[in-house]
C-alpha cells in the first residue's frame, strides 16, 4: 500500500530501518508554496526601484551576505545549514525566463532535507567529485535590499564564484535573491534563488552548494 512514511525493506538483504533524517521538520511543498516561489521569482526579476534600505541597516545585510560567503568558501556547511529555516528552498532555475519550478527541471531545487543530503554526501569523504574538495572564492557585490512582509527582507546581489579543482578554474556568474527573516536574532535564510547567466546551457560539473 501507500504508507508514505514507510522507508521500505531492502529487497535483497531484507533489512529495514530508518535514518538520521527521521523526525526532521520537512517543508510541506504544496501548490501554495510553489505559487509563492513563482511570485518570488517574478518579483525578483521585475524589481525596478532602487534599494529600500541604506545606511546601517543595509550594512548589516552586507555583513550577513559576506559571512554566508565566508562560511561556504570555508566549506563550513553545517554552520551554514544552521542559518536555514525549516522551510528553506534553494533554487537555481534552468531557464532564463523560468519562474515556476513545476514547468521544467532546475539546475538545483533543494529543500533543507535535500541540502542536508548533499552535505552528508560531502562528509562521507567518498564523494569523488569533491575529493579533493573544490577551492572557491565568492565575490558578492551590488547588494540591494527590498522590504518584504514584516520581518522579511529580500536581498539581491551579484555573485561571482570562482572554483578551482583539478587543474581547472571555472566561474559561476549571476545574481541571487535571498529572502531573510530579520525580526529576531540570529537572522535566518528562508529562500535562496540564483540566476546564473548561462542557466539554460550545459553546466560544468557543479558539485558544491553555490
Amino acid at each position: 500500500m501507500t504508507d508514505l512514511a514507510d522507508p521500505g525493506v531492502n529487497p535483497v538483504t531484507g533489512k529495514e530501518g530508518k535514518g538520521t533524517a527521521e523526525g526532521e521538520e520537512v517543508l510541506a511543498l504544496d501548490s501554495t508554496v510553489y505559487e509563492e516561489l513563482k511570485a518570488a521569482a517574478i518579483a525578483a526579476k521585475s524589481r525596478s526601484g532602487s534599494t529600500d534600505l541604506l545606511g546601517a541597516e543595509k550594512e548589516k545585510l552586507d555583513a550577513f551576505l559576506y559571512r554566508e560567503a565566508r562560511l561556504l568558501d570555508g566549506r563550513r556547511y553545517r554552520d551554514w545549514a544552521s542559518l536555514l529555516t525549516a522551510d528553506f528552498v534553494y533554487w537555481i532555475p534552468g531557464g532564463v525566463d523560468t519562474v515556476d519550478p513545476r514547468v521544467e527541471g532546475a539546475i538545483n531545487f533543494d529543500d533543507r532535507r535535500r541540502i542536508l543530503d548533499r552535505i552528508t554526501l560531502m562528509e562521507t569523504k567518498l564523494q569523488w567529485a569533491q575529493v579533493p574538495p573544490s577551492r572557491t572564492c565568492r565575490v558578492v557585490t551590488n547588494v540591494e535590499a527590498f522590504a518584504g512582509s514584516p520581518g522579511t527582507v529580500h536581498v539581491r546581489s551579484n555573485i561571482v564564484i570562482w572554483e578551482y579543482r583539478e587543474r581547472r578554474r571555472q566561474s559561476f556568474v549571476g545574481w541571487q535573491e535571498h529572502e531573510l527573516l530579520t525580526a529576531a536574532e540570529p537572522w535566518r535564510i528562508r529562500r535562496k534563488l540564483i540566476w546564473l547567466i548561462d542557466c539554460d546551457q550545459p553546466q560544468g560539473n557543479n558539485t558544491f552548494i553555490l
Binding site: N10, T20, F109, R114, M122, W128
Partner: protein, 439 residues
Amino acid sequence: MSTATPLQVPLRSPGKYDHLVRPDGLVHRSIYTDPEIFKEEMTKVFGGIWVYLCHEAELPKPYDFKLITVGRRPTIVTRSAEGKIVAVLNRCSHRGSPVCLTERGNAKRFSCPYHGWTFENTGELVDVSFPDGYGPSFDLKTRNLGRFPRVESYRGYVFGSLNPDIMSLTEWLAPARELLDWTLDRDEIGSAGVRVVKGTEFYLHANWKQQNDNNTDGYHSKFVHASTVVMNRRRYGPGKWMSHISDQTQMLSMYLGNGHKAQDQRPEANSPWKQARPVPGRETAGRAIIAKVGEAAAERFLNLTGRAGINLVIYPNLFIRGNGNFAVYEPVAVGRTNVHNYSTLLADAPEEMNTLRLRFDEDIPNLVSRDDNAIMQRVQDCLETVPEMEWLDLSRGFVRQTIHGNGAMTSNKTDDTANRGGYFYWRDLMNRDVTLSVV
C-alpha cells in the same frame, strides 16, 4: 550456457578498426582520444545511422522549431505546415551563415542575417535579396537548406539520418523494442498526451562514448557512488535504492543489437516509490495524489516516479531511464560532450505526480552523476596523456556471458557485456563505408 569463443556478431565487417576493438573485449585508448576517429564518427555514427533528434511533444504545433546539433552539425528540427517533422541544416546555402539564431520558437520562415536570403521553416529557398544580380536562370529550388533524407519517429521519439539507405527506424529499434515498449507502456494511463520539458544539462570533459558506457556499466556503482550508498543508509536506512550493492544479483547487463544496450535492474527495483530517496515535496505530493485518486490508484502513480528499473541506451545518443526520464548525448569534440536531461510529464495524471517527476529527475544528476562525471573526466585526462598503456579492459563477463541466437548477449549486471557488445557494433560500423547526403 556460456561460451568463451570469439563472438560472431551479425553484419561482421572486417577492417582497420579490428585492431582497436579486440574480440576478448579490449578496446584501444585512441577511440576516445583521436580527433580523426572522432571526425569519422561524426559521419559514420552521428549521421550514418539513426540519431535521436527530439521528442514530438517538444514541437507540438506547425512551425515550432528547436535548434540541436547532429554530429556537431547545427540543425533545425521543425514541424511543417502539414504537421510533419523535418530536420534541416542550419547553414545558409549562400555563404554558410546560420539562418536561425534562436534556440526555440515558432517561425514560418527564416531570413539569413548575412544577405537576407529567406527560407521556409522546412528549408525551401523562397526569396533572395536584389535578385537582378543573379539572372533569370538562377534556380531557387536547387538552393534549399540541406534536409535530412530520413526522419522517422517511434512513439514520440524522433530520429533522423543523413544516410538515405538506412533501414527503417522500426527495424533499427527492433532489438531494443521490448524494453523500450516496457518503459513507455508504464506511462500509458490515457491518451491525453505528454509534455517533454528540459531538465539538468551538463558538459563533460570526456568523449561521448565514456558517457554511453557509463549508463550500462554496472560494476562501478559500489565504488563511484560509495558516498551515495553511505548517505542513503545514514539518512534514510537500508531500504533505499543503492543502499546495498553486490554482484550476487539477478540484475543483468544486456547487449541487445544495433548498438542498443541495457542494464536490467528490475529484479531489485521492485518499488520505485518506496526505494526513492525523498525529494522535496514527497510527502505533500503523495498525500495530494492519494486524496485525488484514492489509495489503490495512487500506488500506480507514485511508482511512476523514482527509478523504473531499466537503464536503456538507444545507440548512439539516447539514454532512457524510464518513468519519463531520458538523456541525450551531444558530441562536441573528441574530449567534450554535452548531456541533456529531459522529463516527460503526463497530461492525464495528477499534477503532483508530474511535479514529483521533475524533482526526482533533479536527484540523480545532482546527487549521483557528479561522481560519474568526475571519474569520466579524469579517465579522459589519463587516456589522452598516456600512450604507453594502450588498452582499456572491457572483458569482464566474457567467461560467463550468454550469447543468444540473434547475437544479443547477457550476463551479470556487474559485467561489461553490454558495453562489449556495443563496441563490437561500433567496430563494424566504423569499418564500413557510408555515403551521406542531404535532399
